[in-house]
Amino acid sequence: MTENVKNRVIRIIAEQALIAPGDVAMDQSLEDLSIDSMALVEAIFAIEEEFDIQVPFNANEPDKSEFDISTVATIVAAVEMLVAEQKA
């Protein structure tokens, strides 16, 4: 693997937050990064395209989703899990 999952997810989040990847901290929430619901849906689409995975996410009930979006770290962990699962 040329680049790990964490860095690739951070790059996608940074693009939506309009900041440099180096300025994204793992404990930041989407709100901290000023990512609104539309930017989130775009980020999830970009993640799906980047990793060729399906992300279970419904904008009507973001809290109920198995895909935990509370911080950058939880998003990275969720993507790592989906990548491992969907490769299997």
């Binding site: 619901s37 539309m38 849906v41 999830i44 689409f45 399906q54 996410f57 419904n58 904008a59 009507n60 009930e61 109920k64």
Partner: protein
């Protein structure tokens, strides 16, 4: 200023192929949403919708008509025939010149586009049928109604996404009220339940995978439907002079724009539209007994709409009934306001308020009388019908019992 009344209604939608069947389904709180039966449904993650069932275009239209009528036009023609026949109007001479058609649609001939893009891109064909353009154009339905029933006055199509039908009926109302037309055939139609249509909606991640449950705390999104609703709006004195059967009176209309966000609704924009319709009708909020909600079943719409109602109606908000029939027929996008106006006509004419079905858990952010799960008998004199579109374009109609 002329008074405007409704003298004909027609429909085909997931609840029935005519007005009587639709009223019956609304009274019984029947659900017309089910598994989608369309090509490549296995490649969709959203697999439910409010489809028009048991429908065979070959039984309704000949080969030449089918070559020109996209599914949204077919639905319009069926609904228009029922509405115009009920009105008893024959459009000849001066009346023909003073009568027109204004319809709402969002996707127009989307099914035709989907099929033909598939033919040229997926199947690699280098030739499509010669009538694809006149079949897919958004004004095809309005034009075919004008041609078939000889309507020679003002005719056009309005596209404002989910508010298209309400905007269209508002224009029809104003044309008749201002004296620019004697009668208008109006309403809307939509048929987006094709692979490309549903796939595009999936992307927004606002669609439910199981049901449309407006105002319920466990709602999880909208469900798309298809179909048409058509009405004949007629100048009151003209209708009275010929002894027409009057279904209801259209008394007010208002349009506002949120000027804020391309998808998120605005409480203020919705409230201004409702208040505007009341003002245009010359009535107080306290006189309204029923509101047919936009009620899409998304987290965002329903709480915003309820807050807007509370804002406009004040203490009376607790007394007014508000229901979303999208729980039964789904969201017909550009045709939705027209099919929903049927619920308003039923409330005014028959004294039966259609329910919000699928209601399971109260939501403190939607703490209004949403007529949960069962239709209710009630005397309704004034009612509103709400439509709030993506793009922040709002249109609200006010109707009165005759």
């Amino acid at each position: 200023m002329h008074r405007v009344v409704i003298t004909g209604a027609g429909t085909i939608n997931p609840l029935g192929h005519c007005v009587a069947a639709t009223f019956e389904a609304m009274r019984e709180g029947r659900c017309g949403i089910g598994p989608l039966d369309i090509r490549d449904v296995d490649r969709l993650s959203i697999k439910i919708g409010g489809q028009v069932r048991d429908y065979d275009p070959h039984e309704r239209f000949n080969r030449q008509q089918q070559a020109l009528y996209d599914r949204f036009t077919q639905f319009t023609m069926i609904a228009a025939k029922e509405a115009i026949e009920q009105s008893g109007l024959e459009f000849t001479g001066a009346l023909a010149a003073e009568s027109g058609v204004v319809f709402g649609t969002s996707g127009g001939g989307l099914t035709t586009q989907d099929e033909n893009y598939r033919a040229v891109y997926e199947e690699g064909k280098n030739r499509v049928h010669p009538f694809i353009v006149p079949k897919l154009m958004n004004n095809a339905a309005a034009s075919h109604v004008s041609m078939t029933w000889n309507l020679k006055g003002p005719s056009f199509t309005v596209a404002t996404a989910c508010a298209s039908s309400n905007h269209a009926m508002g224009q029809a109302f104003w044309l008749v009220r201002n004296g620019a037309a004697r009668a208008m055939v109006t309403g809307g139609s939509e048929s987006m339940l094709c692979f490309g249509g549903v796939k595009a909606w999936e992307g927004l991640r606002v669609m439910s995978r199981d049901a449309c449950r407006p105002f319920s705390a466990n709602r999880n999104g909208m469900v798309q439907g298809e179909g048409a609703g058509v009405f004949v709006f007629e100048e009151y004195e003209h209708a009275r002079a010929r002894g027409a059967n009057i279904l209801a009176e259209v008394v007010g209309f208002s349009m506002t724009s949120d000027a804020a966000d391309i998808v998120m609704p605005s409480q203020q924009g919705a409230a201004r539209a409702m208040a505007g319709a009341l003002r245009d009708a010359g009535i107080d909020a306290g006189q309204v007994e029923y509101i047919n909600a936009h009620g899409t079943g998304t987290a965002a719409n329903d709480k915003t709409e309820c807050a807007a109602v509370a804002n406009v109606f004040g203490a009376h908000a607790d007394k007014v009934m508000i229901s979303s029939t999208k729980s039964m027929h789904g969201h017909l996008i550009g045709g939705t306001g027209a099919v929903e106006l049927l619920a308003v006509v039923m409330a005014l004419k028959d004294g039966v308020v259609a329910p919000t079905i699928g209601y399971q858990e109260p939501d403190p952010e939607c703490a209004l009388d949403v007529v949960p799960n069962e239709a209710r008998e009630a005397k309704v004199t004034y009612a509103l019908s709400n439509a709030f579109a993506f793009g922040g374009l709002n249109a609200v109609l006010a109707l009165k019992k005759m």
